[in-house]
Symmetry: C2
Subunit: 435 residues, 2 copies
């Protein structure tokens, strides 16, 4: 193992802004070959339906099957998977699901309506989507928490059909993942992965229903497919590698901070962990903790690669200078490991999730604090929000004009529509004047 060589910057030093910008820079590669490959897979699923899914199961998941029955997980199978888990896991999943459900229930929007001074009834009717798709990656880690975080907001919104797709390499699917589906209201499950899963959910096949929106993380095939079906269905945000920004006043155990940085870095070689402090001595202590703890970690190679590629320590003169750095970085996860973190909230404009105080580890939010762990990455907290109930509700405007109101507003419509050269619009309102 090579040694840890995290980048170290001092705010105010010459070239700081450019160095920070270089460190933060991340852009997904839009590969024309990948686009074409994914477009072909989508086309094949649209035209051949189930048969295409059966072919791809053998080809991409090394799981040859005769029929869609083998790619369909029944409600009984999902429940059975839960029952096979040990009690500690069952309980932990239930606690997480309940806490996530409770937090998200606060996000529910309600319809509203009022009558204005002209007698126009105006309002907004809020309804749940009918049917949504949740994609859950296969691969190394069985992402049970991902199932809960993607499905539960849909359940809370009142979505009737929550359809999960997850690949079963060699026919194997994790009980832990299915059990998470059990506690979070998933209503159907198919063993499908990659672009073919996204295509099936977007367009439907003989067996798989088409859904209104598809959410959930995935590899480049999945992300590309989601972008390609956007518009036919809704999708959640476009996610980059995960990141954490820890701001610490130097009074937290440096081992804790090192581990918090690791908990981000262990995700992938391009995950990003940043630490800001006004205390140079403390930064050195955290570096020592990193070097001490790293060899003990199961994912030490990934953590080392991530820290050396994209890890960053920033020394500031005054801790409060971190606030503008936070807004520049717009981090996915922000840990305020300081006294009185709430006093910072007013100044923080852009962050996916804010963890306040030394005991609020990011991991708590990843699993069971309550808020969602699907968060905007790579600075997109400037305009994206955490996944939430609002992602599964939609709104219809309500407009009810009395004869009197149509009479009063008709001339306004007439002037504006004629100004835009849209005379049918104008006449349609003019007919209702003096009626």
């Amino acid at each position: 193992m090579t040694s840890v060589a995290m980048k170290y910057l001092k705010l105010g030093e010459s070239g700081f802004d450019q160095s920070l910008s270089d460190m933060l820079s991340w852009e997904s590669v839009s590969n024309a070959d990948m686009q074409k490959l994914v477009a072909d897979i989508i086309h094949h699923v649209r035209t051949e339906g189930d048969q295409a899914l059966i072919e791809y199961s053998a080809k991409f998941d090394s799981y040859p099957v005769d029929s869609m029955a083998a790619l369909t997980v029944s409600a009984e199978d999902i429940e059975a998977a839960f029952n096979r888990l040990d009690e500690a896991k069952q309980d932990a999943l239930k606690v997480a699901a309940e806490r996530v459900e409770k937090y998200h229930s606060k996000q529910l929007s309600e319809s509203w309506q009022y009558t204005d001074e002209l007698g126009v009834v105006l309002g907004q009717k809020v309804t749940a989507m009918d049917k949504v798709g949740i994609y859950v990656p296969g691969g190394v880690a069985p992402l049970a928490s991902s199932v809960i975080m993607n499905a539960m907001p849909a359940k809370v919104a009142g979505v009737k059909d929550i359809v999960m797709a997850t690949p079963a390499p060699n026919g194997e699917v994790s009980d832990f993942v299915l059990a998470a589906a059990y506690v979070s209201g998933v209503t159907e499950c198919y063993l499908l992965g990659g672009a073919q899963a996204i295509a099936a959910l977007a367009y439907g096949t003989q067996t798989v229903p088409s859904v209104d929106k598809i959410v959930g993380p995935g590899n480049a095939f999945v992300a590309t497919a989601k972008a390609q079906v956007f518009g036919k269905v809704g999708i959640d945000m476009i996610a980059g590698p995960s990141e954490i920004l820890v701001v610490c006043d130097g009074k937290t155990n440096p081992d804790w901070i090192a581990m918090d940085l690791f908990s981000q870095a262990e995700h992938s070689h391009d995950a990003q962990a940043i630490l800001i402090s006004q205390d140079a001595e403390f930064l050195a202590q955290v570096k020592a903790s990193i070097e001490k703890l790293l060899p003990t970690m199961e994912r030490a190679d990934t953590i080392l690669e991530s820290l050396n590629n994209r890890g960053l320590m920033i020394e500031v003169a005054q801790l409060e200078q971190a606030i503008e750095l936070i807004n520049t970085i717009a981090p996915e996860h922000l840990e305020l490991s300081i006294d009185e973190p709430e006093s910072w909230l007013d100044g923080i404009r852009h962050a996916g999730a804010i963890f306040m105080g030394r005991h609020s580890s990011e991991a708590l939010g990843d699993y069971c604090a309550g808020p969602n762990h699907v968060l905007p990455t790579s600075g997109t907290a400037r305009f994206f929000s955490p996944l939430g109930v609002y992602d599964f509700q939609k709104r219809s405007s309500l407009i009810g004009a009395s004869a009197q109101a149509a009479n009063t507003l008709g001339p306004v419509v007439s002037v504006l529509a004629r100004g835009e050269l849209l005379t049918a619009h104008a006449q349609s309102a003019e007919y209702r004047i003096n009626d």
Copy 2:
């Protein structure tokens, strides 16, 4: 002029579902040449900045300029454009802006926070985006209402910088459009069109600021560019041609209904106008009104092409059967030209805007009722919402765990994180147990 030949279907007749599906079907063409052309334009603007914009102004807008000054509209120029309008237009713009502002103010989300039974502070902090871009097409019609509908929700959200881009073919820009910017809180304006305008707003140049989100309608270049910069910035929905679905019990003046259908059809040859009634005689009367009124219309050719391509009358046995048709069609605009339209609301799950009663013409909503006229098209009301204040606010999750709460929840995190093979996550929570 050829004669009107709108399609006519009877619910329940053999082949109805397929015929309806065929009529509704619309898919944007994703053209590889267009994708490449737009990608090149974006790249050129990213690398050359202002200079690229100056080149494109000459090339695409027949407007050769020496510097960005000629492509920049000052606040004084915007105000002057408003002052040059006649009073009727000034007043109409002000009434529309005020009504739109008032309705949208009801959409503002507030931050919230609570402490749960374990002593965990949980919440959602809602903030406005810093800077957004509004694209306003040039072309035949000066879309003043489009400026109001796109800018006002951003203004109400509290966005500080609202940057408008609109092309100036031959250097000409409409006073009406600039005046609309004046009444709706636009803070900067550049005379830029097409993919180059979107690229400038997404990435910034020496003169044009980069924004967080870009909204507004546009041609295929604009739509393609918006899709390509999505992720770097937020964008609003992907819009298809405009459509209206009118449901009428036969008791509204058939001329009114014909004109309501025209007001959609006059937008473009692929706009869609659909009428449902249980009264075959009334449908025939509307057809007669269409034939009578069409020759008097300024955009008769476009209306005829639209009605003959995509126009549709549907006869149902019972008027209430229209409700399930509405949900299948998920129309952008829905006119309920019936008695007691509010009694239908519970059954209607998918529609962009619902116009209730005979006096509520769609045109009223297009200009000044208050709700937004940027609405989900082509059935996407199943998952998209009208443009609103919520499109310009974003959320940050808040999590503050006490030592006690970290102690209680730590074991849950530990079990779940270890189940997912993420041991740094687990340890980061375990450190905080029994502290």
